[in-house]
Symmetry: D2
Subunit: 221 residues, 4 copies
């Protein structure tokens, strides 16, 4: 059993909480409030934008073959941003004047700080978990959403063969990195695996409850 | 009016929320629950520990005179950790097996990510605001706490002349950095000033409400 | 007069030394020894490979519009590597088992260290000067080289309209960054401008004299 | 046999070249020209100054016990700078208006780039080799220098029990890091071991031949 499968089993209590999140269920069932989905779109747009620096920061530390793959991920993310802008225009949602909610800001800082200060294999772990979480989460939505839904293009994006292939690639590479790592590095990779899963749950929670800052009401945020 | 004073005025709605936080008021009045204060101690111990890497990450990017001052801040933080361990032993509080709550983890990531990816003056802004927030917050507590309180040594630490002098030094240096910065850098400094203040409020909020992770109950965290 | 023009004037004693380098003159005149050109190809291949991490390391610190431009530079460099491999195969030159000479290794470290520890505008200065140096240097070669030369594709690459447009873009952006920078940052930018020009001279010097390490003969290197 | 001993054996052809360098022999025998030693002092002063950022950049990536040790190394380097200033004043040598020679600049970039982009164990390898090289090199000088020499305080500094203890500490820690590393990380550590030794030889070579830049005469440098 590879590292990824082993870790997905170990953190399944967090993973299940994520897949069972009401934001995903309500999006699947078509009962999600428009304002709630719009707020998620605004926050996730900022998140995808910030994922480009994260990927870029991995490149100088990557082994050469992975550098090329990571380099190609950047235009893919640019296309994803295009999808957000297209959907936002269609639905009349503002993507320009949005500011990150606390959980969103925190997650982005976690990505960047890890890319800079952890080992490459540790930072790569975070990349894999974030992408795998999106694939699995949107597969939950896919299992029931009306294909005529205005949000279906997002579902298509993250459940496509292309995205599945990317997640598979990351899984193979991460398994190999873990197999080649020493004991203590592998332990830190496991810890980051779990942490990233917890940030993913936090992100859905923010999507469902609003992108505010702790201890501050909306006016002060 | 220097940059610091100007920004403290601009973000006063956040600053006042911080200084009026019930965690500070209850600690001042001696009505704080022991378990609540203990949880803060555990989380803040981890935070101070993580502040050493933040300071260290600033050094390579600092102008030479500031390098020395930042280098000297590291042993001061080591002494602060000693104070935590001494107080924890006295009160029977575990500092060894603690893990960071969400807000704590997020704040540390924010420090590190900023130290690595923002400009030096921007990252220095975050350092100043975090230290100034602690000075002002503990001055609130000092205004009423019983000097016989087991928590008084923390109050003494962050309201001491030595700490006040450090905050003054940071303020003068930050004012000078802001005066020498271009327009767009100064705008990013202002944005980070406000963000750091918001992270400080979030930290007290965590201290008062518990160091959990969004969407996960205590067992799963 | 913009920052770039002003600096090119200020460091012209270095720039002229670079443009008058015998490696360029001999390549232009077709008198360069095959082994000398082959050694340059080997070293420059490693250098271009290492330029990808440099560009990537700039992305997290770049303003958003420049992120996209820098992201697009990565596939361009991949194509440049392709050109090296194609020319090397045609001429029977090994690109696989080569190790960097001292000057090459040093220059790459300079790029990376600057990308990580200097300000964005400072690191961007280094990028501009390196690209501008290549454009100007190969224009010297273009002025006389036989178009049937096996090395002409390199000349074409770095004197093309596309490459000229890239250098122009960098110049405009750098002028704007310098205009928006404070006094002391602009001074550090000027210093890095000159340093990069000196590294470029050192690189041609290595190309002409061999990719060795100081104090070590070829066997020990 | 630990990693350090194994690598010192593997790179002994470089190490011997370093220990047999004429700069060391002439300093030992008292035949070194004053201007030559003065030039070394100027360059090494800049190098030690730059070693502080290198050490600081390692701290955020270090395991906790090593963080403290690295933190303590910073004031030690500050004291070393004091020694340079004291000796320079005594001998009428200018340390203020000096600029780094090519090899010096390159070596510093190598330290910083490694601290930022390599793994912690890889960067720690560079730290160990640089310190071990200084200990071994100055032991060569100690074996014959007149204790009344104006340069003897440098010999004392780097052959002292305190410095020997620091090098021993680094060796034990590096052996442990290598023992815990995976195969490919250990290979990169070995490569950096050799590279650092080569930079050390280059530094003595610069000390003996002058701190110039390749392809530029003294006026242009």
């Amino acid at each position: 059993m590879g590292f990824c499968e082993e870790q997905l089993t170990r953190v399944r209590h967090v993973w299940e909480r994520m897949l069972d999140h009401r934001f995903l269920r309500e999006t699947r069932d078509g009962t999600i409030a428009d304002a709630t989905f719009a707020s998620w779109m605004q926050q996730d747009y900022l998140f995808v934008e910030a994922a480009i620096p994260f990927i870029a920061a991995l490149i100088p530390r990557a082994p050469k073959p992975q550098r090329t793959a990571l380099g190609l991920a950047i235009p893919t993310l640019e296309k994803e941003l295009e999808l957000f802008r297209e959907r936002a225009t269609a639905a009349g949602i503002d993507l320009v004047s949005v500011r990150p909610g606390f959980t969103n800001h925190a997650y982005v800082q976690f990505l960047l700080a890890t890319a800079y200060s952890a080992s490459y294999a540790e930072a790569f772990t975070v990349l894999y978990v974030a992408e795998k979480a999106y694939y699995d989460s949107w597969m939950v939505v896919r299992a029931g959403i009306d294909e005529a839904s205005a949000w279906f293009p997002f579902v298509e994006n993250w459940t496509s063969d292309a995205f599945a292939g990317w997640v598979d690639y990351l899984e193979r590479e991460l398994d190999a990195l873990a197999a080649g790592a020493g004991q203590s590095e592998r332990e830190r990779m496991a810890e980051l695996f779990e942490l990233t899963a917890k940030y993913e749950v936090a992100f859905w929670e923010m999507a469902a409850t609003g992108a505010t800052w702790p201890g501050l009401d909306a006016q002060v945020s």
